[in-house]
C-alpha cells in the first residue's frame, strides 16, 4: 500500500480518532447539547469496564461512571487539546472509582503476609519455586484460567489490590498512583511488589499443571 506522506495506516487511524475527539471537544466547549450524549455513547462502555475492575458491584460501577461524566462535563472547559480525550476520561473514571471505594464498607480481608514467600535462616526459600507448566500467554487464553486470575486478584487485601490495578492493569506510573492514593512513591513500590508476590502465590498451585 502506498503511504501518504510517510504516515502509516495505523498512524492515520490514530490521527482520525484525535481529529474526531478534537471536533467533539470543540462542540462540548461550545455548549452543543448533542455533543455530550455523543461523548457518553462513545466512551461509557470503556469507562464502565474500568470502573468494574475497581468496584465489586455493577451498581457502584455505573454510579462511578455517572460521576465521571458529570465531572468531565463540568471541567471540559479546562481540557487541554494536547491531551488525548480517552486518557483524560480514563483518569477521571479511575478517580471516581477510588472515591466510591473510599465510601464503601470494607470486606474481611486475608493477611497478605500468609501469601508472601518464606525464607530459612540462610536466606533460601522454605519451599523452592517450581516452573509453571505453560507460557502465561497460552494459559490466559483459557476462560477458566482468566477466571482463576480475576478471583485471585479479588482476594488481595484492598490496599494491595488497588495498587496492582493502578500500576499493572491501568498502566499508571508510580508517581501518578502515589498522587491518586495520597501515599509516597516508595509505598506504591512496596505495595505493588507485595501484591504481585501474593498474587503469584495464589496462582502457583493452579499454574503448576492443573488447569487443563
Amino acid at each position: 500500500m502506498r503511504l501518504h506522506a510517510g504516515v502509516s495506516h495505523l498512524g492515520r487511524t490514530a490521527l482520525n480518532a484525535i481529529s474526531i475527539d478534537a471536533d467533539l471537544v470543540a462542540r462540548l466547549q461550545a455548549g452543543d447539547s448533542g455533543a455530550f450524549e455523543a461523548l457518553v455513547r462513545q466512551y461509557s462502555m470503556p469507562l464502565l469496564r474500568v470502573a468494574r475492575r475497581f468496584l465489586r458491584s455493577e451498581e457502584h460501577a455505573r454510579d462511578a461512571v455517572q460521576d465521571a461524566f458529570i465531572s468531565a462535563y463540568k471541567s471540559i472547559g479546562r481540557f487541554a487539546s494536547t491531551s488525548r480525550l480517552s486518557t483524560w476520561l480514563h483518569r477521571i473514571v479511575v478517580n471516581a472509582s477510588l472515591m466510591r471505594l473510599r465510601t464503601q464498607r470494607r470486606h474481611p480481608e486475608e493477611d497478605i503476609e500468609s501469601h508472601l514467600p518464606r525464607f530459612l535462616e540462610d536466606g533460601h526459600q522454605v519451599a523452592p519455586s517450581v516452573a509453571w507448566s505453560e507460557p502465561a500467554d497460552e494459559m490466559v487464553q483459557r476462560e477458566e484460567v482468566r477466571g482463576i486470575v480475576r478471583a485471585a486478584i479479588d482476594r488481595l487485601p484492598e490496599q494491595y489490590r488497588i495498587v496492582l490495578l493502578l500500576r499493572d492493569i491501568e498502566e499508571m506510573t508510580t508517581e501518578e498512583t502515589a498522587e491518586a492514593l495520597g501515599i509516597t512513591a516508595n509505598a506504591v513500590k512496596i505495595r505493588l511488589h507485595r501484591a504481585r508476590q501474593a498474587l503469584r502465590t495464589l496462582l502457583d498451585p493452579h499454574m503448576r499443571g492443573a488447569t487443563r
Partner: protein, 83 residues
Amino acid sequence: MSERPYLPCREIIAFLADYLDGALAAETRSEFDRHLAVCPSCVAYLASYRDTIRMAKAASIDADADDPPEELVRAIVASVHGE
C-alpha cells in the same frame, strides 16, 4: 574463580521488581545474574513473577465490543441536562 558469596534468595526476591525495571545499579545487577545462574528456584520464581504480571493484565482486560447499557446512557445525559 570468584570466592565472593552469592546473594541470598531472600535478597533476590526482595528486589525483583527493581531488577525487572532495570532500576538496579550495574554492580548489583551483575550479582543478581550471578545468583540466577546457579539457582533454579529463583529462576522459576522470576519467571512466574513475570507471568503473574502478564496474566493479571490479560485476564482483566475485557475486549468485548458491547454497546453501553441504554439506561446508563440516559441516566448520565439526564443528570447533566436535568431531563
